[in-house]
Point group: C2
Chain length 401, copies 2
């Protein structure tokens, strides 16, 4: 059994980012930049008015002064002339400040007269003018490679005049559930069997993390069936199997895939839930063999598959996002296996959220996992902790996982 962190480091070391593809700006939300976005223009392109009012020369615009209004400048319709002495131009937010003007008189600080305007509040030079380049300058890097694009980033890339963006191709993840005892929802359930939940839960997790799941037909516990299904995954960026990884007599994934060119790296991790985990390579394709138990499979996916999906999309190699919390109950000392306690999360008085483990942690309880808001991480041999002690948790609600 190898330690969890070592297992994750070996998995991430075996994974490369997918190459770039070009997508339309409108399709780029949630994708990860493969190249930085540089500003293609300067914003604002020249000095513009920050408010509705009058473009004036500040030196002339003292309270009581009267200025001739010689034209107007709505946004998108620059005033063609130049401001002379004693003159003003009616101006609107975002419009270019006409040459000769050096400040904006707010419309609420002015009285409109026929062909003129009277200043009711003295103006200072530069007031209400947004300088050329206040937001960004042409050539500036606005968004770095590796950035997962938010709605705000899409707005910034649009403003910088990018109709297309280069992003990492969504990693295609083949998902192969194995087992004689499982059936898909709505299909006949074999005697003593259960409904298969792993493939679609993992498919959703892959989608939540920006990947493209390819769900393969269930393979019965039969070396030929598993070998055949595995060949279907050759076009994937990774093959994820569930089941068939433990020490029992009926564990076949390793036996079935050997003749297909499978090279094992390791297959047991000191963690709970989820000890039996296969990592290796099927030809060129990385293969992650998760346990058949649905709770174990999902916890292992959070620890290994999510970081792998991030890495495949060009993000830094790291574990799942963690936050600090305080234990909502006494925690017993841990044994040699890295543990993941399914827990509720509530707001705490002291600032940190309170993570309270469910009283029964049986690894078959999918309902408890679905309701859990966090996994409390317990390192091997962690000492007992009293309620109120600080713990590290993986928040599960984030990203729809």
């Amino acid at each position: 059994m190898i330690p969890l962190e070592e297992a994750r480091a070996r998995i991430l070391a075996g994974i490369s980012p997918t190459p770039a593809e070009t997508v339309a700006l409108a399709a780029a939300w949630g994708r990860v930049l493969a190249r930085p976005v540089m500003a293609r223009l300067t914003q604002p392109p020249a000095d513009v008015s920050a408010m509705d009012g009058y473009a004036v020369r500040a030196a002339e615009a003292s309270a009581g002064a009267r200025l001739a209004v010689i034209g107007e400048a709505p946004a998108g319709h620059p005033f063609a002339g130049r401001l002379g002495p004693g003159q003003a131009v009616r101006i609107f937010t975002g419009a270019l400040v006409p040459p000769g003007a050096d400040a904006i008189l707010l419309q609420e600080d002015a009285t409109a007269l026929p062909g003129a305007v009277e200043v009711t509040e003295t103006v200072t030079r530069g007031r209400w003018i947004r300088r050329q380049g206040l937001d960004f300058a042409a050539g500036e890097e606005l968004l770095p490679s590796g950035r997962r694009l938010t709605a705000r980033d899409i707005g910034l890339a649009a403003a910088a005049n990018h109709p297309w963006l280069n992003v990492h191709r969504a990693p295609r993840i083949g998902i192969l559930a194995t087992g004689d005892e499982i059936a898909l929802p709505g299909e006949p359930i074999p005697p003593g069997g259960i409904v298969s939940s792993n493939a679609h839960a993992l498919g959703a997790l892959v989608r939540a993390a920006g990947g493209d799941p390819l769900i393969l037909p269930i393979a019965p516990d039969d070396t030929d069936a598993i070998a055949a299904a595995a060949t279907a995954a050759r076009a994937c960026d990774m093959l994820v199997t569930t089941g068939g990884a433990s020490v029992g007599d009926h564990d076949l994934v390793q036996a079935a895939l050997g003749p297909q060119g499978f090279a094992l790296d390791f297959w047991q991790i000191a963690m709970r839930p989820g000890k039996p985990l296969i990592w290796g390579r099927l030809g060129q394709v990385p293969l992650l063999g998760l346990p058949g138990n649905p709770v174990s499979a999902l916890v292992c996916a959070v620890q290994f598959l999510l970081p792998a999906l991030g890495r495949m999309q060009g993000q830094a190699a790291s574990g799942p996002r963690t936050i600090r919390a305080v234990a909502g109950a006494d925690l017993p000392a841990n044994d040699r296996r890295y543990d993941h306690l399914r827990a509720q999360l509530a707001g705490g008085e002291a600032g940190l959220p309170v993570a309270t483990p469910y009283p029964v942690q049986d690894s078959s309880m999918l309902k408890t996992l679905a309701r859990a808001e966090a996994l409390i991480l317990r390192a091997p041999h962690a000492p007992a902790l009293p309620a109120g002690a600080e713990v590290i948790v993986v928040p599960l609600g984030d990203l729809g996982i």
Copy 2:
């Protein structure tokens, strides 16, 4: 100008959840349940083994005892007979416990012999048996209406034998950017004009919140063009416009839509950025008119459009998610407008994250908004606060907004 909370309450009061549609389980991730998911079966369906080992009668399985192995029970292949005195059945994780057995002897606590097994560690009754219904019982409500489905929920719904789920239809949101001065990325930019970022930023935000954006062609500042575009939005669940909402002479959205049957509810909110905001109804279609300024438009979308999208998907009427933080700098007293300071978020020693506002908060700075990790909320007339004081923030990284 009406207060922000009143504006949001009036908007949410005017919105109904979309009706249900049936989607395949594999397409349901991120959707919101319109009906609860009830368990269609009991899980586990009967008592099953939690480990690999031997099904035994605990009373006979003391250290040193030798039992005859009369068959085996892999998962999905229940043992057909009944366990008699002095007998054991080889069993694997997830397999049904054969009638007559009342405990599992772990394989690591046993020595396999030809046709028999020797107990090396005494077994207690019920040990390593998962009882029928430990996870859930047929008929039990597993997931409530209004739940946005996570990957774990998809797994739970699968395990409960649901190939289809009933979810709220993704709300279709028409998005209409207006203005003579704007052009889409990559298209010719008019003199004094800028590249339009609002429509695609808002489209991404709608997508991030589970909606279906319909981006309408840009309408110039012309009542006929705006009126024509608005008719295209009749099939939407909501029309969102940007621009044309302020008090300047060139604000046309209200003028253009009146003859189309637009009924205004309110149009000015005491907030910054974002004072001019239109809310009303175009025939049956709710209409939200956002400011043309991209930062104002996005901040208003966080405060009003996101909650509206949640409500349309059957979620509770509430504002955006907020968290507690401490101010990373002194904050000045606020005026009468609800303010949203763009801020960085960093881990704090005391537990709460530290929210530090950017020094320049000009509402034209889209780059600052894109880099911001949170909006510090400042209520009208909030007093000055020293660095280190507690504040409430909207975390922006969540959900890809």
